[in-house]
Symmetry: C2
Subunit: 334 residues, 2 copies
């Protein structure tokens, strides 16, 4: 059953989504889609870590307010982030008295959370669940790399951690459907350059998409869009090339949330966006609304995550990565 594609009940769908982003994300090509933005990136808080937590609170509140939900209407939270011990989530969602499942899937957390929430709803354990995640450029930079005050020069393959949080409320309804899922396997192909996460994560996305195609008998032709979480321009091109080697031509259907969120020319984020918030906000406020409006009808999304830590990199370890796949389809027509 390891490679079995999980299928959900017909009505498992997004009830509402919410997003909160920082300045660069608001200035990007899809910046007008997001629900909330703060041009200071601070969200009224004194530390970047608290700002990140506040974004999670705002994103979930935003989703809840769209459908008039209070905390009593949500039965479980699935949440995680990139900060040590996932404090972005545990502090950010503390205001909500809702049963809490803490996740760590690095940048794949949005996909992991949506997958688990959908499984719970489809199986009937909970009526409605929320999946929430976030990343903040300034809290990530000082934790993973060097303090931003150093002004260190970034390499061309480096990606820019998105300041943003996305929240997804999943239940039974008539919205955009989550119809299938295939959880990722942790793979490690020897990449140990923390400034080239796209290359580290591409093999994990390939492993999952390849298993999906093989087991479903489908190919890129069956979908409008094959979307990865945050491979960026570097990882994205590796992904398409290696899928072609496997006999799957996906290039014309392919896009990546890390390429969508910033303008390559004017914003120059090097290889594109990354971080848990990257795929979360693009999905919540750009892709899912497109599916809702029927501009897209069938999307394969592969949330990608690099499961290393600063310590593991310093100790010379290579970067393990994962890709969780979910299939999103437009609402069923009446």
């Amino acid at each position: 059953m390891q490679n079995k594609i999980i299928e959900f009940s017909e009505s498992t769908s997004f009830i509402a989504c919410g997003s909160a982003v920082g300045k660069c994300e608001h200035e990007g090509p899809v910046g007008d889609c997001f629900d909330i933005h703060d041009k200071t990136d601070r969200f009224g808080m004194k530390t970047w870590e608290k700002a990140e937590s506040e974004m999670q609170r705002l994103a979930l509140n935003s989703a809840m307010s769209k459908v008039g939900f209070s905390e009593h209407d949500i039965d479980a939270l699935f949440a995680g982030d990139l900060l040590n011990q996932c404090v972005g989530s545990s502090y950010g969602l503390l205001d909500f008295d809702i049963p809490y499942f803490g996740l760590y899937g690095a940048c794949s957390t949005a996909a992991e959370g949506i997958m688990l929430a959908s499984m719970m709803v489809s199986a009937g354990y909970f009526g409605k669940c929320a999946a929430v995640t976030s990343s903040h450029n300034s809290s990530a930079e000082r934790q993973y790399r060097t303090p931003i005050e150093y002004g260190g020069q970034r390499t061309p393959t480096a990606q820019w951690t998105v300041t943003g949080s996305g929240a997804f409320i999943i239940g039974r309804g008539n919205g955009v459907r989550i119809t299938e899922a295939l959880p990722g396997i942790v793979v490690e192909k020897g990449i140990n350059d923390a400034n080239n996460m796209g290359a580290a994560m591409a093999p994990a996305a390939i492993d999952t998409l390849f298993r999906y195609f093989r087991n479903s008998g489908k190919s890129a032709d069956d979908f409008d869009l094959i979307l990865t979480g945050d491979l960026g321009w570097e990882g994205g091109s590796i992904f398409c090339e290696l899928m072609a080697v496997e006999g799957y031509d996906i290039k014309k259907k392919y896009n990546d949330c890390g390429m969508i969120i910033y303008d390559r020319e004017s914003q120059d984020m090097h290889s594109g966006g990354s971080g848990c918030g990257c795929s979360a906000v693009v999905l919540a406020s750009y892709i899912i609304p497109k599916l809702m409006r029927g501009e897209l009808s069938d999307v394969l999304f592969i949330g990608t995550g690099a499961m290393m830590s600063p310590s593991s990199i310093q100790q010379g370890e290579a970067i393990p990565a994962i890709g969780h796949l979910i299939r999103l389809q437009k609402p069923k027509s009446e």
Copy 2:
């Protein structure tokens, strides 16, 4: 449905469990129960972090070998640990080509993983799942506190992070059953002393147990044992006292994995054991075997976790905590 107790299909049960521990744990009162131990705490590795990963690999291998399983027999892994970005798990389980769900539940990870794995098996998404977690005293000390070489004096309420890893294979069978679950809600009651985690976590355990008793109509009299994960002597006494205030006399049925694992007199671990590995190894190798042999028949286990980080403590934040409850029952008699 927030307070609804989740019920599992009759046959959802532990197929096999495995454990690996360090020197102090092997010298403790239940030290002979554990499957594997290493008196150097190094498990053949050069760093404490790699030793922790190796323990996870050994614990899962030990469980698999008891029932002759290969990696192809397990459909999904649910794993997490205390290290930044949960690298104990992502590196430790890299050898196993099994779909992977990363968790962060701090010391409640064993309970969270067993709960999610049981939900997946009971709903039929997967045939067999494994829940794995670990902690290592030396990797935890240098990450959370001060390097052990400093020889800093510990306060009386401090607990000792257990060096150990526990693995649980869950499927449909005739073993010790997981019959009910109630996920925890993150609560924070103003405790900000990282050397008194028992006091920080006790309110979360109370919140969950109180909700369980209220909704099930049951009391301590209905169980052989009410077991918490790692409240230790300090947190455990707070827990019993505050439950008594709520009208539930649990004292004579109560125990804690952090009190079981070390000898209070001869080992002097101050307030007892803690860490993800604490409840994992005590459950895997002491409590579940007792249920298997019929020496216990009905146990409520509340895995407790403190969801803070060194950064959040340094920034003056109080400690949020969680308690996930699972009910374990002896095998059904023929």
